[in-house]
Amino acid sequence: MSPPANHEATFQSWLEEHRGIFVKVARSFARGETGVGELQQEMMFQLWLSLPRYAGQAKPSTWIYRVCLNTAMTWRRGEQRRERRIEPEADLSRLAADAATPAETAGNKDLLEQLYSALQAMPPSERALVLLMLDGLAYRDIAEVTGMTENHVGVALTRARKHLAVLLKGVTDELE
């Protein structure tokens, strides 16, 4: 892969092709419609800043996941401090529902909200791993995004899946 010659064109094509990553990461790490919007814009801003460093050494999706997750984790820490001052006992389900995209079908919407609520209740590192797993990334790709070894990804992911299953009440993980 060669470095992007035209940053703006690359940026636009990445946004069009990988728009879902921004939305899913933002909805997993931020609360409320405003928070999700702000985080998405911050992730896009960081991606824009990082583009000149992109030299084709990783797949665009890996690069975007790294930028989005690093940004979300930093952003989340600041956001948590604000929430502790303003909204100490936020209703996770309601906040996740606020951020839902309008196009979701009614049947899946509740389950998806439940999933986002459970994700938001997980520690950031587990949340990142589960998000990458749900997006269908292979262990090797998850390792490339996180910097963990593939074996370690497997172990950590098994633990995270169990935690997710506990959070999603009544759900049994087929892997168990």
Binding site: S50, L115, S125, L134, T146, V171
Partner: protein
């Protein structure tokens, strides 16, 4: 309902298509943000260096005004410029070591932890690289001015002061208490910043690192 069903729902979720915003508007926002960030950094660097340059300028002017008797001012100027140089070196160091958000999570977290530990070390030892040289420069500068005043400018004033030891005592007490009080304030503010900002953040990052590597 099992986890695989949730995975299927996750994959089927409908997501907005396209960039989701006018690219020109986004570019405008990004440019504004980038300029704001650059301006903030520039102002911070400018204030740090110009404070040192200003104080050095004052000392240099005093030296010029005092003539050859003011030669010890060279040490005061060197100390102040040394502090400014330290700030500049730190800024270059931090810029050189800073990682972008495009590196793997573990590497980013570890780099942030290393940087925070360095910041904590600097703030906890502020007396060694900031307060001591600063205090030294002030003492040298003040002592030189007083010495030159005694021998050259106003011998009558100082002989009058000697006749009123209580006034002299008040002046000395003021100088001796105000300077340490200011320095204690700076030291205490930095300790507070470490306790309230750096340590909680460091703890969060250590926890995050542990959870990524455990």
């Amino acid at each position: 309902m099992n986890l695989n069903d949730y995975e299927a729902i996750w994959k089927r979720q409908e997501l907005p298509v396209g960039p989701g915003a006018d690219l020109a508007a986004l570019r405008g926002t990004f440019e504004k943000k980038r300029r704001k960030l650059a301006a903030t950094l520039l102002i911070r660097d400018f204030l740090e260096v110009s404070a040192g340059a200003f104080v050095s300028g004052v000392f240099a002017y005093s030296w010029w005004h005092m003539g050859k008797e003011g030669w010890p001012m060279v040490f005061a100027i060197a100390l102040i410029l040394g502090i400014s140089g330290f700030f500049v070196r730190e800024r270059f160091r931090s810029h050189r070591l800073r990682l972008g958000p495009d590196v793997p999570l573990v590497a980013k977290v570890e780099a942030d932890i290393a940087e925070l530990r360095h910041q904590r070390h600097l703030l906890l030892n502020i007396w060694s690289w900031y307060l001591m040289p600063c205090g030294g420069a002030i003492v040298i500068g003040g002592a030189t001015v007083v010495r030159v005043l005694i021998i050259k400018v106003q011998p009558e004033f100082f002989s009058a002061l000697r006749q009123h030891p209580s006034a002299l005592a008040w002046i000395i007490a003021y100088v001796v208490s105000v300077l340490p009080l200011c320095f204690w304030g700076v030291w205490a503010l930095n300790r507070r910043a470490v306790r309230r900002q750096i340590e909680p953040r460091l703890e969060e990052l250590e926890k995050l690192r542990q959870s990524l590597l455990a």
